[in-house]
């Protein structure tokens, strides 16, 4: 039996997939003081519910927000940063620019360290990695000893100028620290993010040093608790890259855990898309306060791009391979308001889980997206939500009253407009991951998940002319589903400064790839994975000579190793033309970084929704769409035949959420337990 445990802010979601493929889902309230408690409690509850024991669990997969929480709450290690003399202020100067232009009182993202926690070490390298000033080891020893012995520092970040080109000085410092203070965590920039641009690299190194002890302790506790619950196998932990790693490896990869939760849903989406043979999808995970959107092309989710805001956590750059998830403030709790210029707005402020939308009856007085969906008839007030919440439409109507007066519209007309604006806001996030990156959203299917995703998906699709929506099984707990189908994955990068592609022979290129492969084989081998079964995905970050930002160009190993730079240049021109609309075929191409994703496929599969224990109340529901109220048939998803085909209007209800099929959309059950909604006569 495979079990996925996904810890969210409000609820911890679990899913168990039996050897027969039957899935059981479960939700339990999260325990933010120690999230591993709810995780293990939930596991015990789930096992009891299906009459199993810890010994029946063959694989346990876990996604957790522990790293993100430690950062947001600034509860991390006592960190000191060692850096090159003359550069103590890199973390405070940052890139000097502002994220908001017209703000007289602008404040920069707050660094994790204060200025008195940064220490300059005499040393200097050139851009080519040559030693300009040797490392002053005596000065370094003196500083390190005082930091540990007098200041109680338990985690040291080291980021020296140009260390990506030559890690020798950083490694020497790392050895000094390890020899003298073996209990202190050491994070070297040349290990974690060996690429040029000192602010981004320093920030990455410090973030990692800051969360590492917290993540390490948490994972160690979780591993022990799982063992106590009778699980004999090593748990696998979700990473930001969308893969999992065994708990002992994940403990060293703390900076790779920031998207541990959201990446799981994307991974599940990608696996489902591949299983369907429809590999181009855009996933949208609609939660209570935000929506997470990710572009998946050819079955592979995009990873973050330098120079974008997704390349950071809490405004602080993080140069780690992360699933490229655009998160916007649009969710069920998004609040409706009219701004100073008279524009009707929805979000980004949210009523969250407490007090929540007005209809929750927990004291919230703002009209939220959930209220709008309730008044439109999309939610059934007779069905209790987890946590015992009962939706009350009279409270929604009361919250809508001031908007009705201001806009001279009825409450259901207000609700429809709120629904459309929320959908348009989500559509803007879709445009950011597609149009902005040079992809046309019309070439993709929309893949909704999260509590409200499948209710608003067709409206979002309308805004960007997408004509197919693929609803996975169990969309309400899809992050947990995603865990069960994720593969073991670790990423490697080799960067030695800018190298003119024309100067690289096929042999040079082959050596670089082989070096990366060797690192992956060694790491997986040490974790008892069969290194011969690894899949290697390569990419090269390249640019035209003279350009500032590099593009990530996926490459195949074989032509790179035989054709060499001609192939690399060709692939780069193609990628440049796709993203920017033009290429300069006669210009020199520079390679900056060589990347490898090494994947061990676990062979998981998304399983269909089980027949409901409690089928929905039969009969129709009145739904208001496009100014008209119609009786929508309500169908139980678990009871639909495998070859089901029908047409909207309909509401398809399952344990974790519902799917809306408006008039004009066709409905079909598909492989991997999905429901496919297709607009009009589109294919």
């Amino acid at each position: 039996m495979i079990v996925g445990i996904e810890v969210g802010g409000t609820f911890t979601d679990l899913i168990a997939v039996g050897d027969d493929g039957a899935a059981t889902i479960h939700k339990t309230p999260s325990t933010p003081d120690d999230p591993s408690r709810a995780a293990v409690l939930g596991l015990t509850e789930l096992l009891a519910r299906i009459g199993a024991t810890g010994g029946d669990v063959t694989e346990l997969l876990h996604g957790s927000t522990i790293a993100a929480n430690a950062l947001i709450q600034r509860r991390g290690a006592n960190v000191a940063l060692l850096t090159t003399v003359g550069f103590r202020d890199v973390l405070f100067i940052q890139r000097q620019d502002k994220s908001v232009v017209y703000d007289m009182f602008y404040q920069k993202p707050k660094p994790l360290l204060t200025r008195d926690r940064v220490f300059e070490i005499p040393e200097r390298l050139s851009a080519g990695g040559a030693v300009v000033q040797p490392l002053d080891e005596a000065a370094a020893i003196d500083r390190i000893d005082r930091l540990v012995e007098e200041d109680g520092v338990d985690s040291i970040a080291v980021c020296l100028l140009h260390a990506y080109a030559n890690p020798a000085h950083e490694q020497a410092l790392g050895r000094l620290i390890a020899d003298r203070h073996p209990d202190v965590y050491v994070t070297l920039s040349s290990d974690i993010a060996p690429e040029h641009r000192e602010y981004e690299r320093t920030s990455t190194t410090v973030i990692s040093a800051f969360v590492r002890p917290v993540v390490d302790r948490y994972l160690s506790r979780f591993g022990d608790a799982a063992a106590d619950a009778g699980v004999a196998h090593t748990p696998l932990i979700m990473l930001s890259n969308g893969g999992v790693a065994p708990v002992e490896a994940a403990r060293r990869l703390a900076a790779n855990m920031f998207l541990s939760g959201p990446a799981a849903a994307v991974t599940g989406a990608a696996a489902t898309a591949r299983a369907l043979g429809a590999p181009n999808i855009i996933s949208i995970d609609v939660g209570g306060t935000s929506s997470d959107v990710c572009l998946i092309t050819g079955g592979a989710p995009d990873t973050t791009v330098k120079g974008t805001s997704e390349f950071s956590v809490e405004g602080l750059p993080l140069n780690i391979v992360m699933t490229d998830i655009v998160s916007i403030g649009a969710g069920g709790g998004s609040i409706t308001w009219i701004d100073g210029g008279g524009m009707l707005q929805v979000g980004p402020q949210s009523a969250g889980a407490a007090p929540g939308p007005a209809c929750y009856g927990q004291g919230g007085e703002d009209f939220c997206l959930t209220d709008a969906m309730l008044l439109m008839g999309l939610l059934d007030p007779r069905i209790e939500l987890p946590g015992g919440i009962v939706l009350d439409p009279t409270l929604s109507r009361k919250a809508a009253a001031p908007l009705e007066a201001a806009l001279d519209l009825t409450s259901s007309a207000v609700a429809e407009r709120v629904f459309r604006i929320a959908a348009a806001n989500m559509a803007q996030a879709l445009r950011r991951v597609s149009v902005k990156r040079g992809y046309d959203p019309r070439d993709y299917a929309l893949f909704p998940c999260g509590g409200a995703g499948a209710l608003i998906a067709t409206a979002v699709a309308d805004e960007v002319d997408i004509d197919k929506v693929v609803v996975p099984p169990n969309p309400g707990v899809f992050s947990a589903v995603g865990l069960t189908v994720s593969d073991v994955r670790m990423d490697y990068v080799l960067a030695e400064g800018a190298q003119l592609a024309s100067a690289l022979t096929p042999g040079d290129l082959g050596d670089k790839l082989e070096g990366l492969r060797g690192r992956a084989r060694a790491a997986f081998g040490a974790l008892d994975y069969d290194a011969d079964r690894l899949r290697f995905d390569f990419a090269v970050d390249a640019r035209y000579r003279g350009q500032g930002y590099e593009l990530r160009v996926p490459v195949d190993a074989a032509p790179l190793e035989t054709e060499g730079q001609a192939y690399l240049a060709r692939r780069f021109h193609e990628e440049h033309a796709r993203q920017y609309g033009h290429a300069f075929d006669d210009r020199d191409v520079e390679a900056i970084s060589f990347r490898l994703s090494a994947v061990f496929e676990r062979g998981g599969a998304v399983t269909p929704v089980s027949a409901d224990a409690d089928p929905p109340p039969p009969g129709d529901r009145d739904v208001t769409m496009g100014g008209a109220t119609l009786a929508y048939p309500v169908l139980a998803r678990g009871a639909l035949p495998g070859d089901f085909a029908g047409a909207g209007p309909a509401l398809i209800v399952e344990e974790s959420t519902s799917t809306l099929a408006p008039p004009g959309w066709r409905i079909a059950a598909g492989a991997a337990g999905v429901l496919t909604l297709t607009r009009g006569d589109a294919q």
Partner: protein, 559 residues
């Protein structure tokens, strides 16, 4: 949250349509900006982001502008009257576009090329897309900013306001002339193509939008978004007390001991409208700090835009409630052919003078002055292929506000230029190494809230034959404070040669050689309130973090 009882939507447009289309206009402008930044070649564009993009209606009035560089606010629309003088823009053909960099036809300075492209849908002109971009080098007397120019002719090639055809680009005459007149044609043309990519992408996106929603609804929403911004600006101005307020600020002199030109602003607030009279400012000067009138206007608007806050889209409506008057022949409205390359100094003094005028009545809604200057360092060196060159902007601290210390080392109010990573700079240019890049102790003006700290950047020159060009301000006076705070420190540009420090004027061209060190110190921001009222713990933290000296803590803060 819902302030619905007092405000109603005054138009007949469906509120959802208005919201959705407004979001699309803004995202089109932003997407154009993304394309330009990512496709650009020069570090001044790709790292320092010295470029802007906008979407305009069929009359070439701004609808949405990407939030990029404040001094570019409405700069594209400002150039339109000069196009109209020569052409009937309603008859622009789909393959035509407009171009200018002429400061005397409402351009900015010569480095900034403006491109406007028409958007057609079903044979009807529905919109324009525009971009403006600072080019690293457009010819002129020296490889860098010409500190000694006495006429605009010496500052680079002038592209008069003209209509061109797509065939004039690429191998056509316009690009050929550009290529022949600049020292770094590949970089300049690379950035120029990034500009073209941006306006073309904007055109495609706009055509999609019109196809989806129809011409009428799109046009209605464009007009409504302009009216919306106007309403927001009028509300902001109405919230200021009526009256007449005066403020002034001074520029550095031509040299460190010559007279300093003064910018004077008389600001009249009358209900929901503002009148800004700049006619009493000093006469134009012989060196390149004259401000083309379009830049002067943008500087004034930026102050009001900042008071309104970041929620207000910048467009044609933003400008309607504000009138600006300048005097031809003054430093803020020079007569042709006065040089204008270093206009940012006088543009900043304009914004600073307006802000200071309002500081007398609403200090609590303003921040003290920041470094308020653009400090551009350019270094160039001839090589086998022609030239190699870089330009970068070093920022100082922001002024403090009623409730906040000023941000340290941050792009100032008229710009949003990022720094160039030291590692990127050294990777691309072997003739220099950056020795220090740090914040300066005691540079932030003291106060109950302290000014942000200024920056020091020291370059070690590794090869002979490098030309250094500087462009800056605030060497001769520090940023002003509010409510009893103290001024920020002064900027200092210097050259250390044979162990001796030579101080440089704000605008300088000087050859440097191996072994020289170029020291750029940029001022911190002004303080807000009495330093002795600063929280004692905050003073102690500042000492612990080496932001202020123990001596300053004692003598100025009274610790």
């Amino acid at each position: 949250m819902t302030d619905a009882t007092t405000i109603t939507t005054p138009s007949a447009i469906d509120p959802a349509d208005f919201n959705v289309l407004s979001g699309c206009f803004r995202s089109i402008a932003a997407e154009m900006s993304d394309i330009m930044l990512r496709a650009a070649y020069s570090s001044i564009v790709r790292e320092a982001k010295d470029c802007s993009t906008c979407l305009m209606d069929a009359e070439a009035r701004t609808v949405a502008q990407a939030e990029a560089i404040a001094v570019h606010m409405n700069s594209l629309a400002a150039a339109v009257p000069y196009f109209r003088e020569r052409y009937d823009i309603s008859k622009t053909r789909p393959d035509e576009m407009y171009i200018t960099n002429n400061p005397y036809q409402n351009g900015q300075h010569l480095n900034d090329i403006i491109i406007l492209m028409p958007v057609y849908q079903d044979d009807e002109l529905v919109a324009f897309t525009g971009s403006i971009c600072h080019h690293l080098e457009l010819g002129g007397a020296v490889a860098g900013s010409n500190a000694n120019a006495t006429e605009v002719y010496q500052e680079g090639i002038i592209l008069p306001s003209m209509k061109i055809n797509e065939a004039d680009l690429y191998d056509g005459p316009v690009e050929s002339i550009l290529r022949a007149n600049c020292r770094l044609p590949d970089i300049v043309l690379g950035d120029f193509h990034a500009q073209l990519s941006a306006v073309m992408r904007g055109r495609t996106l706009m055509q999609d939008l019109v196809r989806r929603h129809g011409r009428k609804l799109v046009a209605d929403c464009m007009r409504e978004l302009q009216d919306y911004s106007e309403r927001m600006l009028r509300q902001t101005i109405a919230s200021l007390p009526d009256g007449e307020y005066r403020g002034e600020d001074v520029l550095d002199g031509r040299t460190l001991d010559s007279p300093q030109p003064t910018v004077r602003a008389r600001v009249v607030i009358d209900g929901d409208e503002a009148f800004v009279d700049l006619t009493e400012s000093d006469d134009q000067v012989s060196w390149p700090v004259n401000c083309p009138v379009a830049s002067t206007h943008s500087a004034v608007m930026t102050v009001f835009g900042q008071i309104a806050g970041s929620g207000v889209p910048t467009n044609d409506g933003t400008y309607r409630p504000i009138k600006v008057e300048t005097r031809k022949g003054s430093i803020l409205d020079p007569k042709h052919p006065a040089p204008v390359r270093g206009r940012m100094g006088s543009a900043y003094r304009t914004a600073s003078a307006v802000k200071r005028a309002l500081g007398a009545v609403i200090p609590e809604r303003l921040s003290a002055s920041g470094n308020d200057a653009t400090n551009i360092i350019t270094m160039s060196r001839p090589n086998d292929d022609g030239y190699e060159m870089f330009a970068e902007s070093v920022s100082g601290g922001n002024g403090a506000g009623r409730d906040n210390d000023g941000a340290d080392v941050v792009a100032q109010m008229l710009s949003n230029t990022a720094n160039t990573p030291v590692e990127a700079l050294e990777m691309d240019h072997e003739f220099l190494r950056v020795e220090r890049y740090e914040m300066i102790r005691d540079s932030g003006g003291a106060g109950e809230f302290r000014g942000g700290m200024g920056a020091r950047r020291v370059y070690e020159i590794l090869h002979d034959g490098v030309l250094l060009s500087t462009n800056g301000d605030r060497m001769m006076g520090g940023p002003w404070a509010l409510e009893g705070g103290e001024e920020g420190n002064r900027s200092m540009f210097g050259l250390i040669r044979n162990g001796e420090l030579i101080r440089l004027a704000a605008a300088t061209n000087i050859p440097v050689e191996a072994g020289d060190r170029v020291v750029i110190e940029v001022s911190g921001g002004g303080g807000y309130g009495d330093p002795r009222a600063r929280e004692r713990d905050a003073v102690r933290r500042d000492v612990a973090e080496d932001r202020i000296s123990a001596e300053a803590a004692k003598t100025i803060y009274g610790l």
